[in-house]
Symmetry: C2
Subunit: 427 residues, 2 copies
């Protein structure tokens, strides 16, 4: 592997080469920077690129002992997450000149593990709907998805092997599916959200994007600050429940095909594959999600509303205006409903190791204004369960279509094990 192609490698492959003395972090960073220089005018994944800082960090790491799990590995950080040494704009002109006083938890931990933070990736406005300039690396006329637009595009385009995103509705899984990469949205509360500008505190979950299941496991260990047991081997065929969700009528043909095809291949490969329906009560999850998010938006954006009203997008102001009409009783009812669903989900999964379900309604839609529909994601985010998207299918425009695996809450390592088995049999 030449220096020039180091940007194509996964993080674990790079770690192996670094350990073996076959390359240096500086060469890896240089290769990523070259890739970015070549492709950024089209992809527009970055709001800030710290060329000099990244090279300096790489040289420092090359000259020292192994720092940790991500020693010398380049990484992108979604710009809704604080970095002490780089501007952090939250996707809003209000924060164009903001420099946070500290790294977010999910920046400080990978840094402590030796990651080289390359820069900040494009986010939609405050991780809501108003889109940034990023294009889909597979076709610049299509959205990369959002709100973690830049991270999904940067990983897909081989600019960095790892990047973080945040998901409140479908902001990690959906763009990863649209861009054809792997992603993990962990169980709520496992990754610290300190330093993440909130969209909806009761849902916001930091996630990780990569180009293999093994790299998701590596990123999980580094970001959760837990030991890494090695790449998931995925030795046992999981018991798979195929879950079309209450929103199946929103699934486009390519998503319907991907789910059916995946179920069939996995069954042939030896997995138990059974259709599973969620309890009837779950059909209202989208509504509860939207009530909780709307209620919180009035509070979370109180400062911007008071001091910078004119700098908020129309679409965000509309969400907040709807939130203003929500009473404490409606908020309570939505939260109680969410909790009942969380408590009931264990029973819905009884007998299955994972659920297989759409990652998104279809391939990435044309145009950059909308980042697509999160209908197949919000319910799992509200349920606090871990989600993985795996690439492997395509839509009518030859754009990527992923499938999603859902695990038991807090059992993220088990989900990654199952994902490794599934991924091997889908590729």
């Amino acid at each position: 592997m030449t220096s020039g192609s180091l940007h194509e490698a996964t993080a674990l492959e790079l770690a192996r080469r670094l350990d073996a003395g076959e390359t240096t972090s500086e060469r890896i960073v240089q290769a990523c920077l070259e890739r970015i220089a070549a492709r950024e005018p089209t992809v527009r994944a970055w709001t800030h690129l710290d060329r000099d800082g990244a090279l300096a960090a790489a040289r420092r790491l090359d000259g020292g002992p192994r720092a940790g799990l991500l020693h010398g590995i380049p990484m992108g950080i979604k710009d809704v997450i604080d970095t002490a040494d780089m501007p952090t704009g939250y996707g809003s002109p209000i924060y164009a000149r903001h420099r946070p006083p500290s790294d977010a938890a999910t920046v400080a931990l990978p840094r402590a593990a030796g990651a080289v933070i390359m820069g900040k990736t494009v986010t939609t406005e405050f991780a809501n709907r108003f889109a940034g300039p990023t294009t889909n690396p597979h076709n610049p006329a299509h959205t990369p998805g959002g709100s973690s637009s830049g991270s999904a595009a940067a990983v897909a385009d081989q600019m960095v092997p790892l990047a973080t995103g945040t998901q409140t509705g479908g902001s990690v899984i959906r763009p990863a599916s649209y861009c054809g990469v792997y992603a993990l949205k962990p169980s709520f509360g496992l990754f610290g959200t300190f330093g993440v500008k909130p969209n909806t505190e009761l849902f916001d979950t930091v996630g990780v994007m990569a180009r293999s299941v093994a790299d998701l496991a590596l990123g999980f260990a580094a970001l959760a600050s837990v030991p890494f047991a090695g790449a998931p081997k995925g030795e046992a065929a999981p018991r798979i429940g195929v879950c079309r969700t209450p929103y199946w009528d929103k699934a486009l043909p390519e998503t319907q095909h991907a789910l059916a095809e995946a179920a069939s291949r996995l069954s042939r490969a030896g997995a138990t594959v059974v259709d599973v329906a969620l309890p009837a009560d779950f059909a209202r999850i989208q509504e509860s999600h939207s009530t909780i998010s709307g209620f919180e938006s009035v509070r979370n954006h109180a400062d911007e509303l008071r001091r910078h009203h004119g700098l908020l997008s129309l679409v965000l102001r509309e969400k907040i205006d709807e939130g203003r009409h929500l009473s404490i009783d409606q908020f309570r009812a939505a939260r109680r409903h969410a909790e009942r669903c969380r408590a009931g989900f264990g029973a819905a999964m009884a007998g299955y190791d994972v659920l297989l379900t759409p990652s998104a309604a279809g391939e990435a839609p044309a145009g950059l204004e909308s980042t697509g529909n999160a209908i197949f994601n919000g319910l799992w985010t509200l349920l606090y369960v871990p989600c993985v998207t795996l690439p492997g299918f395509t839509g009518p425009n030859r754009l990527p279509v992923g499938v999603q695996l859902i695990g038991r809450r807090f059992h993220d390592p088990a989900l990654l094990e199952a994902a490794a088995w599934v991924d091997r049999h889908l590729r």
Copy 2:
């Protein structure tokens, strides 16, 4: 009431006088500033006092239409909460020069409602244990409690009628009890925590301190951004469960006396008063609280650990070091236990409108180094239920001892109604 004694009035009384044109916000702020000037050398409640800014804001409000519920009312903000126009130090030398880019949700909302933010009140280091310089206004040789030390002392000492605190264990209710003021720790998730430096994100709850139940209700409406239905009338005698908690052996004689005396007076006044025991499983709540908080501390303080290790207090470093040894399995087990207790709490409260329970183990201990024991608070914080402390009793050193009322989760207004009835019959 002369200008000189305006600082003694409650917020609702001040609002009435402002509405009637009997005084101005400028005069109120001036009276509070004079009180602070006289007492601050002893009480040391403030890390930053914005004299000129507060007077300017008061004049602006005096010259304009009624802004909202807190029009012209002075307020203190705990210094673990972000303010865009004042330094915010989080109780740590690491952030001595920090100026946040925006107001926290619980600063922006009262400001939008017309509150005059007087300054920032002393917090322990990152709302953990390492104490600041604040003294108990009733006796400067005793702690005011913590972590919301300055807010409790400032409200008790009539420097401001309202102030905010944050509670992860017992950081609102306990200092309020030690200082002899009223406080509300609302249901988790009702007040936005955006802009609060996290101690433990799964527990951190902003609360409000005041000198009457009616002011707690006013503060609740302003901080939750919900309509204010007027001061709670407390017309119906509540059904009261007396809950000694699994930690009763930690209650000092003055707390035992306060609880027994309150139960007896309330029963004579016409309330149904019955002893209630929590399910056996609840005895482990303190342990689960400490596991969750310890696990999170490693993540939440990752940046300070990496870059400013020597500036963290020994007591915080010890907490974090213990947190490092916690596995994801232990964290999961503790969170599951917490959720089971939350789900089971409704049944434990069946038949009661409120629980009556200690606010603290006793009166404020001597010395400023320890802010006292949160043993009677952590369980309610973990349960996410609303808590009110009411003053009314004293200990062997003539220092205040409060009693605590617990409500149903999300039913904070009902708790405040019951608190109004109880308070009337305890005074």
